[in-house]
């Protein structure tokens, strides 16, 4: 049974963030609050509160699966958003790290 998470980009850094169970917007996908189909009202209330706050933008509802206790977004786009680019850096062969929140980027609803 798939569930939903809320995601967006933090205003100052642009970093991909997820709404956690404690109402904070955090970097780790695995800390995301899972909304069941019965929790549409809570989900929409969180979305509205976040939008009103204006510190997390480009808000989206993403469908996810739980696989071996891990949250796995259904869309490849969202999996790449969570982990960072897959293409290695030209010179050292390492993948680019994802964007991180700056010290002024911590947001709660």
């Amino acid at each position: 049974m798939s569930k939903e998470i809320l995601t967006g980009n933090e205003l100052t850094s642009g970093a991909a963030v997820y709404l956690s169970a404690t109402g904070e917007w955090v970097e780790p996908l695995q800390s995301a609050r899972l909304f069941s189909k019965e929790e549409v009202a809570e989900r929409d209330a969180a979305l509205a509160a976040t939008k009103a706050g204006g510190r997390v933008i480009s808000l989206e509802i993403e469908e996810v699966d739980e696989v071996d206790g891990q949250i796995v977004p259904k869309r490849l786009r969202e999996r790449i958003r969570a982990a960072g680019p897959t293409a290695p850096l030209t010179l050292n062969g390492q993948a680019y790290d994802r964007q991180h929140l700056g010290e002024d980027g911590h947001v709660s609803i």
Partner: protein, 552 residues
């Protein structure tokens, strides 16, 4: 090189200060995101998958060493130490923070650069031949006209809210290296019966979800009336271009739906009104701007030829580089050097800040302080003495910029794709990396010869896949990535749009599919002089399709 006059300096300074205030108000919460978004887009600031992306305009791809050093500085201090050069001859930074944008724009303004009109429904950065002012096959240096177009189109009040974005390319050579037939307006230098130089005007070309080859709307517009003619086209487009559907809003759709003759009649009617008015280019003003682009005072050179075959025996890598990355210069004893940003396994178009510094140093020392960005995502040192080529090559080797692969199979155009782009459906960079690894062997690349592969991660075609000899289009299918292959595209004066030749491939099978097509071409070609695109045109689609998919 162009230089800002007091008007340019004032509007860039004004806009930079204005946007700094808008950022401040956004961060304080005074502006909502809905209010701020159109403002940031007007200043080249996008929000992509992982972060903001800032697109900086490089006017017609021309840079000085000082400007390139500033781009390196911005990459080093405010981003992650690299930048991505694009098919509009611009540069993009993939990781800037919103709070740093005002100071980045200040830094850019200090070297006469900005990010204005790199997004939005306005006239975008005018592009041109990367060898402009240097190429041996040039009729006229297009840069003075490109500069006039830059001045005319910057903050043009009538064309700030067009139905859709608008792209202009200009070339002064008969061989089209600027893909002018795939622009909203393409300009090609022409000579009339009286021997005067003017411009062929092409209209309604483009890529994206509806690729179209531009149509010739006027075979000769005199230089002095060019702005009036272009303004006439813009007015017709602004008046009649569709605003009900963004996918049908480009001028190519208007020309296609109304027909060239109808549009031509409307343009001519408008032209009759504005011709001879304030948009007439005074020859003294053209001369003044042309003086900024006067050729360097070239030092006489005793070395006017290089024996590439001999050099290849001594040093194969240097020989390959001479063979592929050197373009004939109008000035005896000089050449234009293409600096490849396509290392095997690298991300096409990316350059680190140290590489940008190296290229800036080389431009200052060996290329009269000039640099170019190509629409094929490489850099160019336009004016290098043949006697200095070895020193330039050695410096590029040390900076890992000496790949001798210009116009070969590993010299691919590639969009950022789903690794970075919010619009993409599939990844592009890993596909380019795997193809370049598969064909990394220099002898293999030489055997294949000129072959242009272009890769896009969605139908918007930023990777120009429609005009690749082999095009690759990433699409989303059942939650995964699938790659369609097109054949027969060509961005030059022999313009053609590639055709999808069959079912798509999984990512891991794309390099193998390319290899089948390449092997078939080599087996069928009428000698090594017949290029892939020539063989494709001679043989047609069917045998290539059979080679790729087998007999039905």
């Amino acid at each position: 090189m162009y230089r800002y006059d007091e008007f340019d300096a004032a509007f860039v300074a004004g806009r930079t200060a204005q946007f700094a205030d808008q950022v401040k108000r956004r961060l304080s919460g005074e502006l909502t995101e809905d209010q701020f978004r159109p403002l940031r887009l007007m200043n080249g600031l996008y929000l992509q998958l992982h972060a903001y992306m800032l697109r900086v305009a490089v006017p017609y791809g021309t840079l000085s060493s000082r400007q390139m050093r500033k781009l390196a500085h911005i990459a080093r201090v405010y981003d992650r130490g690299y930048g991505h050069f694009t098919t509009r001859q611009n540069i993009q930074y993939n990781w800037p923070k919103l709070k740093d944008i005002p100071v980045i724009l200040d830094e850019l303004a200090s070297v006469e650069m900005h990010a204005i009109q790199t997004s939005g429904n306005c006239i975008r950065n005018v592009t041109t031949d990367q060898f402009a002012g240097a190429a041996a096959d040039e009729i006229i240096d297009p840069r003075p006209v490109a500069e006039i177009l830059r001045q005319w189109s910057s903050l043009h009040p009538e064309f700030s809210y067009l139905p859709r974005k608008f792209k202009i390319a200009i070339t002064g050579a008969s061989h089209d290296r600027a893909a002018i037939r795939f622009h909203d307006i393409g300009l090609q230098a022409a000579v009339n019966a009286a021997g005067e130089i003017g411009w062929e005007v092409w209209v309604g070309g483009g890529l994206g979800r509806t690729p179209m080859i531009a149509k010739l709307i006027n075979s000769f517009v005199p230089n002095e009336h060019l702005l009036a003619y272009l303004e006439s086209i813009m007015r017709v487009y602004n008046r009649y271009g569709r605003r009900d559907n963004k996918y049908k809003a480009r001028i190519k759709i208007l020309v296609h739906e109304e027909g060239l003759e109808t549009i031509k009649g409307q343009v001519e009617a408008e032209f009759a009104e504005v011709r001879g008015g304030v948009l007439t280019l005074p020859s003294e003003e053209v001369d003044r701007i042309s003086a900024y682009f006067a050729l360097p005072d070239f030092a006489p050179q005793s070395l006017t030829k290089i024996d590439v075959a001999y050099e290849s025996i001594l040093d194969a890598a240097y020989g390959r580089w001479l063979d592929n990355n050197i373009n004939a210069h109008a000035q005896p004893g000089y050449a234009s050097v293409t600096v490849s940003l396509k290392p095997v396994g690298g991300a096409p178009g990316d350059a680190t800040h140290t590489q940008m510094e190296v290229v800036a140093d080389l431009a200052e020392k060996y290329s009269y302080d000039e640099l170019r960005v190509t629409h094929e995502q490489n850099l160019v040192l336009p004016h290098v003495a043949l006697a200095d080529l070895r020193a330039v090559f050695d410096a590029l080797v040390a900076a890992e910029l000496a790949e001798g692969n210009n116009n070969l199979i590993t010299d691919m155009i590639c969009c950022p794709g789903l690794d970075f782009c919010a619009l993409a459906n599939a990844r592009s960079i890993p596909i380019a990396q795997e193809i370049s690894r598969k064909f990394a062997e220099p002898a293999r690349q030489k055997e294949i010869g000129e072959l242009k592969i272009k890769i896009s991660g969605c139908i918007n075609a930023c990777g120009h896949h429609h005009v690749g000899h082999i095009g690759i289009l990433g699409v989303e299918k059942k939650g995964g990535e699938l790659y369609q292959i097109t054949l027969g595209g060509d961005a030059t004066e022999h313009a053609s749009v590639g055709k999808i030749i069959g079912p798509g491939f999984e990512a891991e099978n794309v390099p193998g599919a390319i290899e089948k097509l390449v092997d078939f071409y080599i087996a069928q070609r009428q000698g090594t002089d017949e290029t892939f695109i020539q063989a494709y045109r001679r043989l047609g689609e069917a045998p290539f399709k059979e080679a790729l998919y087998g007999t039905a």
